[in-house]
């Protein structure tokens, strides 16, 4: 009876222009038969260092984060800073 575990990025979504939602699925199998699956999630924004991300995630980010999108994100951040809590 052999248990194996494998992890992979199974979902990359672009949300609201600049947010890249990433999901990693970890699957455990016993003798090739599915046993369980767990998810781990994170969201990337244009101001983040993505060098540690998988290449396919970096590729999506680089396509989505055009100069126009980056500029819009910086504008959004500036607006957020002024509408923070009282």
């Amino acid at each position: 009876m052999a248990l194996t575990e494998s992890s992979s990025i199974d979902q990359i979504e672009i949300v609201a222009d600049w947010n890249i939602q990433v999901r990693q699925a970890t699957i455990i199998e016993r003798d090739g038969q599915f046993v369980s699956r767990t998810f781990h999630r994170w969201v990337l924004t244009p101001d983040m260092d993505i060098s540690g991300q998988e290449q396919k995630v970096q590729d999506i980010c680089n396509v989505a984060w055009t100069d126009e999108v980056k500029a819009a994100y910086e504008t959004f951040k500036a607006e957020q800073a002024t509408r923070n809590m009282p």
């Binding site: 939602q21 998810f39 969201v43 959004f76 509408r83 809590m85 009282p86």
Partner: protein
Amino acid sequence: MASTINAVTTGGGGIAVGGDTSGVIGLQSNGTTFATGNQYGIGLGTAVPSSGIGLAFPATQSASSDANTLDDYEEGSWTPSWNVTGGSWTSSSYVAKYTKIGRQVTCNMYWVTSAISGTKVNALNGLPFTSANDGAKYAVTITANSIGLSGAIPVSELNANATTCNMQFSYQSTTGWQDFLTSAISSGSTISMTFTYFV
């Protein structure tokens, strides 16, 4: 036991479908399987239940525009981190989980401090989903142990179209909320945060 399909003629009538314990029952409409049944429950769309007994949703949501349709369920973990001016807030351990039901996401996070530096904590980062871009703000419930300043409690909120929770202190005797100063935190301090938002 062999698979069977029987007409039910008693009561209101209907169709009874049975299969053996290793079998799978598929229900189709227009040539597309919309539900699968086995000994573990019922799967919707491409989902196949694999343990316990339950209702399984597809791993990738097929969003419905109908307000009365439940179209997603997912459990998982996320990685919390902090935006700290001039420093960092590190942990000796943490637990961060989420559950998404339809468009509603509930997150929980428990953080045990190992070290803190810098001047103020601006935000909790790393939320698993982006909040809906609808102009809303969401309240965050916080409990903390050994975090606080005299007459102040930590407060937080999540903005629309965001993946961070802003952090501040609310003082009993001061109007408005103030900076979440790192001087209020020490090694061993713990903080728990729970919040629910829409995506």
